[in-house]
Every structure is written in structure tokens, then in C-alpha cells.
């Protein structure tokens, strides 16, 4: 996205559902407004702009704030991609949850995969892409499923194929970046987020969970969720969450949002609140039922209907807001700025330069 500033002729009307920018000519306070790069399906987060050291006052309206609008236009035209990986052993409702999250049939079961639910012998990686559109914004969503994870009798190193896949995506991106003739927009297949499904045993994390998260929390953003949480009563749920959080802390597993990447106090407060509520206990469903005259997504059992979007019943709404409505862009940024950079640095240090590219180009390349 180029950042050329076009001098505006007209002050544009705010079209985004956010607080309108207000002109504060003599006041030194910075104007409020949605900042941050890019739009999403709705932006709730409103962090303030930082004060510049000298606090220059504006004597008239310049129109710098229209950059937001320009970016929005560009994003809408270009669209953006988001890659989410779902990991967990079979039967935890992963596909259902992804369908519920994006309110469409995006999982691999739905894309004409056939009814055979045979457990594969080794961990496979299956990526399915869809383009979904909302409010003029196009998103290319790729759901990467990992059937066979944790299903075998011997699950040693079952995270290796996943780790390999993630690194392969980084490698692809790196190669593209290092090319002389770069594409204008490098297709981003890197995994932005990994939803790890924890089995609702009610006791503690399983050995496999800990191993997986330990190995992968440094490479990708991991968001642990408690699957099928309609198994547990509210007390059991709280106890379980508390215990899981403690265990994650004990083993030093940094799940997203990571503590170390909080930019400022506001971020930290917000993220702290979220971290307290994690891991989210979710229920997924793509069927609708009638409850009190309303049609809700839920699961109908003999003793009641579990409403998916009811915050008293489960934390699906929290997860959805967190994942899509507030932190989608942040996930991508962390992946690009931190995980990818770590990979890149390691790679370049190891090899002392990338040699796959032909020899006469090495002088001109960026190394």
C-alpha cells in the first residue's frame, strides 16, 4: 500500500462507524479517531494517538486525518487475506466452530469432502480457501485443518508436520521478498493464527497439549480454546479455566496476546482483560432453533437449548469479537513483524545469505 498523501479539496464525511474526527485547532490534545492500519469488519478498539514530544498545535484544518479514509478505500479494493489454522484431536468440534465463526460453510467437511470421517494414519495438513465479503470488504479466508493430530496411539512428534508447514509458508514469503522482481502484493499464506482446541476433561491439560503449545508458541500465534464447553457446569468451567491458565504459566507458554508485545498501557489493560478470560470456553453450532420467539444458533438437548451467542451459556461471542472484530489486524501484524522476522533472521544467519537465487543476482539483492 503506497502512502502518498493527496491534498484534499473537500473535507470528507466520515463513512466508517467510528467517532467522527473533530477539529481541535487551538487545543494541544490529539484528535480522536480510529487509528491503526487497515479496516476490518468493524473496529471497536479506539486507542488514542500518542502525543508528539513538542505538541504542535494546528492552526487550521489540514486533512491529515483523511489518511484513514484513503487506507480504507485501498483495503476495500485490494481485499486482504487471513489464514487460520485449527488444531486439536478429532471430535472436538473444530470444523463446526470455524463454520460458526465465519457464519458460512468454510470447513473442509463442507467443501464437498464426503461423509467418511476416517482418522488418517499420520497428521495431514488440509487448507481450504474461501472468499467472503461483508460491507464491501473482501476477505480471502484460508482454513488450515490438521486431521489426525493426536488421534494415534503413539503421538510422538505429531506436531512436526504442522511445524514444517508453518515454516514452509514463512520460507515462501521470504523467497518472494528476496526476489529482485517482487510482486506488487506478495500473496500471504503465512499462518496468522492457530486455534488450539483443548479437550474439556475438567481436570487439567493433557501431556500432548503442553508439548504442542511449548513447541509452537514461538513460531505462531496460539489461541487456546476449550472445546465443547457445554460439557461443564459454570463452576467446573471456571475451575478448569483457572487450572489451565496456571498450567500454561507454569510451562511458560506464551499464548496470544503475548505479554511482551503490548505497545502501551491501553493495549496492556485491554489485553490483560482478555488474558484473564482466556482460554475461551466455546460451543459451536450451525443450526438454528427457536427460543423465546427468537431464532438463535444453538444446540438442542433434551433439557434445554444451548445458545451459542449467549454470554451466559458460553464464550463464543467473546472469542468472535476478539478474533475478528478487534484483533484481526493485530494478529497479522504480530505474525509479520515478530514471528516472520524471527524466522527471517534465523534463516539469514544460518545460511549467511540465501543462495537459491541465481549467483549473478546476489550483489543486487537485499542481503
Amino acid at each position: 500500500m503506497s502512502e502518498s498523501i493527496v491534498p484534499p479539496e473537500v473535507r470528507p464525511k466520515p463513512a466508517v462507524p467510528a467517532k467522527p474526527p473533530h477539529v481541535a485547532a487551538p487545543s494541544p490534545t490529539a484528535p480522536h479517531g480510529p487509528s491503526g492500519l487497515g479496516g476490518g469488519v468493524g473496529v471497536d478498539r479506539v486507542p488514542g494517538l500518542g502525543h508528539s514530544g513538542s505538541g504542535s498545535t494546528l492552526l487550521g484544518y489540514i486533512g491529515i486525518d483523511t489518511i484513514i479514509e484513503q487506507m480504507r478505500k485501498k483495503t476495500m479494493k485490494a481485499g486482504f487475506d487471513f489464514n487460520i489454522m485449527i488444531v486439536g484431536h478429532s471430535g472436538l468440534g473444530k470444523s463446526t466452530l470455524v463454520n460458526t465463526l465465519f457464519k458460512s460453510q468454510v470447513s473442509r467437511w463442507s467443501s464437498g469432502w464426503g461423509g467418511e470421517h476416517k482418522i488418517p494414519k499420520t497428521v495431514e495438513i488440509k487448507a481450504v480457501s474461501h472468499v467472503i465479503e461483508e460491507g464491501g470488504v473482501k476477505m480471502k479466508l484460508t482454513v488450515i485443518d490438521t486431521p489426525g493430530f493426536g488421534d494415534q496411539i503413539n503421538n510422538e512428534n505429531c506436531w512436526d508436520p504442522i511445524s514444517k508447514y508453518i515454516n514452509e509458508q514463512y520460507e515462501k514469503f521470504l523467497k518472494e521478498e528476496v526476489n529482485i522482481a517482487r510482486k506488487k502484493r506478495i500473496p500471504d499464506t503465512r499462518v496468522h493464527c492457530c486455534l488450539y482446541f483443548i479437550s474439556p476433561t475438567g481436570h487439567s491439560l493433557r501431556q500432548l497439549d503442553i508439548e504442542f503449545m511449548k513447541h509452537l508458541s514461538r513460531v505462531v500465534n496460539i489461541i487456546p480454546v476449550i472445546a465443547k464447553s457445554d460439557t461443564m457446569t459454570p463452576d467446573e468451567k471456571n475451575e478448569f479455566k483457572h487450572r489451565v491458565r496456571k498450567e500454561l504459566e507454569t510451562y511458560g507458554i506464551e499464548y496470544y496476546p503475548q505479554n511482551e508485545f503490548d505497545d502501551d498501557m491501553e493495549d496492556k489493560n485491554e489485553n490483560d482483560k482478555i488474558r484473564e478470560a482466556m482460554p475461551f470456553a466455546v460451543v459451536g453450532s450451525d443450526k438454528e432453533f427457536q427460543v423465546n420467539g427468537k431464532r438463535v444458533l444453538g444446540r438442542k438437548t433434551a433439557w434445554g437449548v444451548v445458545e451459542v451467542e449467549n454470554p451466559n451459556h458460553c464464550e463464543f461471542a467473546l472469542l468472535r469479537d476478539f478474533l475478528i472484530r478487534s484483533h484481526l489486524q493485530d494478529l497479522k501484524e504480530v505474525t509479520h513483524n515478530i514471528h516472520y522476522e524471527t524466522y527471517r533472521a534465523r534463516r539469514l544467519n544460518d545460511n549467511g545469505g540465501l543462495h537459491p537465487i541465481s549467483a549473478n543476482n546476489t550483489q543486487d539483492s537485499n542481503l
Binding site: G93, I119, I153, N154, E156, G202, H203, K228, G304
Partner: protein
């Protein structure tokens, strides 16, 4: 009047009674005897941790086997599969039941679960072996029956099908013990999902030719048979918490959207399980264990013994068809021969040792004699020396005496002359 049938070998003719004899009281006698003796039942629960095994046991027997003070095995993380048993004596209506619950903490919890069924198999076999040994003893009065009568296998409610671990475990254990698969935490599934899941499981069980314990009918009831067939495997929910629903007190689990009642037939199959397991089929489980599984074990074990015996002897005829008695005879003969051999060997060894000892004794005797001689010689030499010295000494003595005498004489003479001189002097 009852007449004895003509031929004892032919089929027993059925006669009608013309009065009340009283052997209709036989069941009561059996009943009284059994009640006095008390009953034993061993139940094994297997499944990954967190599937609600302890809660289900507590619900089934309405006791707190696993309470807050004595937490169930799943709350203690295990590195390897353990087999733990806990005994409890419950009394109801004058009938005593010694209930043994065998738990397997750590099953299926590790990253690598190969052979996690081995400790379970070992446990079952060891209990059968104990029983076999007790049966073969001379004094068989006290024969405690610790064999595992029933194994409840908990399947996780994934909704898809059996996991490879489930299949492996059941394949290995279905011919050693009565396996009853259960769907744990069934309140996760909606009724439709439950039906689909059950069908899928039964299909897979038949595919892999696993023989689970099918509850046979006590009465010939076609309907109940049909119902029962559909309901396997049973989907259960466990809870010991009493909740009030519509004024009634029921055991169940309280959710924000409703209460899942444990004893409600429409919510889960817990009542079916309890009735089958305890109220109608407990004795049948014990019988099947005794007649089928235990017999299998026994014939396997004894066949193995005959196999081994056949290898040792040089006979070429087929050893496998020997009866155990002949085999025991053979073994006894072998044993006797072995004993004889050992005896002769020992005698030989004994002889050898005796000879050695004798030899040693002789040697030492000779040695002693020699020394004796030598000492004697020494002694004689010393004696001679001493004689010599004595003689010498005598000589000296006699010399000295002679000298003394001379001295005496001289002295005498000297004194005589002195006297003479003194006399002479005095005259002056």
C-alpha cells in the same frame, strides 16, 4: 407317589406330584446360604482421564468412593499406567456385597500410548491365575473370587467414531473379560448426534469383530431386546449432586440452560446401565466370567504346560492331546528321576570330599610327627648341653672346693703359727 424310572441311563421321565413334597423350598435355601456368605463383585473402569469415571462409580453405587478427601485417580497425574484397586463393603436389605473397583489411572494420557493396555491385561491374568492356583490346592475351603467380572470402557464423546486406542484395547480384552463400552459425558451430545454416534460405534465394533458383553434377556421380551440392541453402547452421565427441578429432588448437572437429569431415561442411559449391571445381570456377569473367560484362560494356560512338557521328552507322539493327569504323572516321574540323579551326584561329591579330608588329615599327621621328632631332637640336644654345663659346673665346684680346703688349711696353719707367736710374745 413318585416311582423310580426303569432305566437309569435313559432319559429322566417327568412325573407329576400328588402332594406337597417341599423341594420348592430349594431356591430359598440357596438364597439363605448365599446371603450368609455374602457376594463379591469386581468392576474395572478404563478410560482416559477426565471422562467422568469416578463420578459414574459414585453415582452407580450411591457412595462417595472418590470424595474430596480421597480424590479419584484422575486428579493425580500419572506418568505410567497404574492399576489400583479399592474395596468397599456395602450392605443393603441384609445382603452384603464386597465391591472391588479397579481403576486404571494414566490410561491413554501420555503422548505415546503404545502398550498402555499391558498392565491391565497383566492384572486380569494375574487374578485368574490366583484363582486357578486356589482351585488346584488341596485345601479349597476359602476361595476368594477376585477375578474381574466386568470392565466398563469409557469412550470419549467425539461424535465421530472409535479412536485407534479404543479399538486396540477392546480387541485385546474382549476375550479375557466382559467388556461393556460406555459413551462418557453424554450430555455433550444432542439426541440425534447420540444416535449417529452409537450406530457408528456399533458398526466399527462389528467391523473389528470385537465381542462386547451383550446383555442377554432374562425374560423373553421381544421389545426389550430390540430396544436394548439400539441402545448399545450406553450413553451415560454421572452425578451425585442433588438439584431441585419442579419441586422434585433429582440427581443431575445444573447448566445455565437446563438441568441434565441423571436418572431420566430420556436424558441418558444411566438407569439402563444401573439396572442391567446391578439389578438384573450381576450374577450373569459373574457366570460368564467363570464359565467363559476363566475357562478360556485355564485351557490356554494348561495347554501351554503340556506344550512345554512335550518338548523335553524324546517321545515323538503328539503331546498336545494328553490329559493333564497323564501329564502330571509324567512330571512326577521326571521329578523322581531328577531326584535320584541328584542323590547319586551328591553321594559322589560326598565321597570325594571325604577322601580329600582323609588325605589332608594324613598329611597333617605326618607333618606333626616330623615336628615331634624334630622337637625331640632339639630337646635332647639341649639336654646334652645342659649336662655338659652341669659337669663343667661340678668341676668348677670341686676345684673351688679343693681350693677352699687348701685355703682353709693354710689359714689353719697360719692361725696356729700366730698362736705360737702370740704365746711367745706373751711370755716376754
Amino acid at each position: 407317589m413318585i416311582e423310580r424310572p426303569e432305566s437309569a441311563v435313559a432319559s429322566i421321565a417327568q412325573r407329576n406330584l400328588e402332594g406337597y413334597v417341599g423341594f420348592a423350598n430349594l431356591p430359598n435355601q440357596v438364597y439363605r446360604k448365599s446371603v450368609k456368605r455374602g457376594f463379591e463383585f469386581t468392576l474395572m473402569v478404563v478410560g482416559e482421564s477426565g471422562l467422568g469415571k469416578s463420578t459414574l462409580i459414585n453415582s452407580l453405587f450411591l457412595t462417595d468412593l472418590y470424595s474430596k478427601d480421597y480424590p479419584g485417580p484422575s486428579l493425580r497425574i500419572k506418568k505410567t499406567v497404574q492399576v489400583e484397586q479399592s474395596k468397599v463393603l456395602v450392605k443393603e436389605g441384609g445382603v452384603q456385597l464386597t465391591l472391588t473397583i479397579v481403576d486404571t489411572p494414566g490410561f491413554g494420557d501420555a503422548v505415546d500410548n503404545s502398550n498402555c493396555w499391558q498392565p491391565v491385561i497383566n492384572y486380569i491374568d494375574s487374578k485368574c491365575e490366583d484363582f486357578l492356583n486356589a482351585e488346584s490346592r488341596v485345601n479349597r475351603r476359602l476361595m476368594p473370587d477376585n477375578r474381574v467380572h466386568c470392565c466398563l470402557y469409557f469412550i470419549a464423546p467425539s461424535g465421530h467414531g472409535l479412536k485407534p486406542l479404543d479399538v486396540e484395547f477392546m480387541k485385546r480384552l474382549h476375550d479375557k473379560v466382559n467388556v461393556i463400552p460406555l459413551i462418557a459425558k453424554a450430555d455433550t451430545l444432542t439426541p440425534e448426534e447420540c444416535q449417529l454416534f452409537k450406530k457408528q460405534i456399533m458398526k466399527e465394533i462389528q467391523e473389528h469383530k470385537i465381542q462386547i458383553y451383550e446383555f442377554p434377556d432374562t425374560e423373553d421380551d421381544e421389545d426389550s431386546k430390540l430396544i436394548r440392541k439400539i441402545k448399545m453402547p450406553l450413553a451415560v452421565v454421572g452425578s451425585n449432586v442433588v438439584i431441585e427441578v419442579n419441586g422434585k429432588k433429582v440427581r443431575g448437572r445444573q447448566y445455565p440452560w437446563g438441568v441434565a437429569e441423571v436418572e431420566n431415561g430420556e436424558h441418558c442411559d444411566f438407569t439402563v446401565l444401573r439396572n442391567m449391571l446391578i439389578r438384573t445381570h450381576m450374577q450373569d456377569l459373574k457366570d460368564v466370567t467363570n464359565n467363559v473367560h476363566y475357562e478360556n484362560y485355564r485351557s490356554r494356560k494348561l495347554a501351554a504346560v503340556t506344550c512345554n512338557g512335550g518338548v523335553d521328552t524324546s517321545k515323538t507322539k503328539n503331546q498336545m492331546t494328553r490329559s493333564p493327569l497323564a501329564q502330571m504323572e509324567e512330571e512326577r516321574r521326571e521329578h523322581v528321576m531328577k531326584m535320584k540323579k541328584m542323590e547319586t551326584e551328591m553321594e559322589q561329591v560326598f565321597e570325594m570330599k571325604v577322601k580329600e579330608k582323609k588325605q589332608k588329615l594324613k598329611d597333617s599327621e605326618a607333618e606333626l610327627e616330623r615336628r615331634h621328632e624334630q622337637m625331640k631332637k632339639n630337646l635332647e640336644a639341649q639336654y646334652k648341653e645342659l649336662e655338659e654345663k652341669k659337669r663343667h659346673h661340678e668341676e668348677e665346684k670341686s676345684n673351688w672346693e679343693a681350693q677352699q680346703r687348701i685355703l682353709e688349711q693354710q689359714k689353719l696353719e697360719a692361725s696356729k703359727t700366730m698362736e705360737k707367736n702370740k704365746k711367745k710374745g706373751k711370755i716376754f
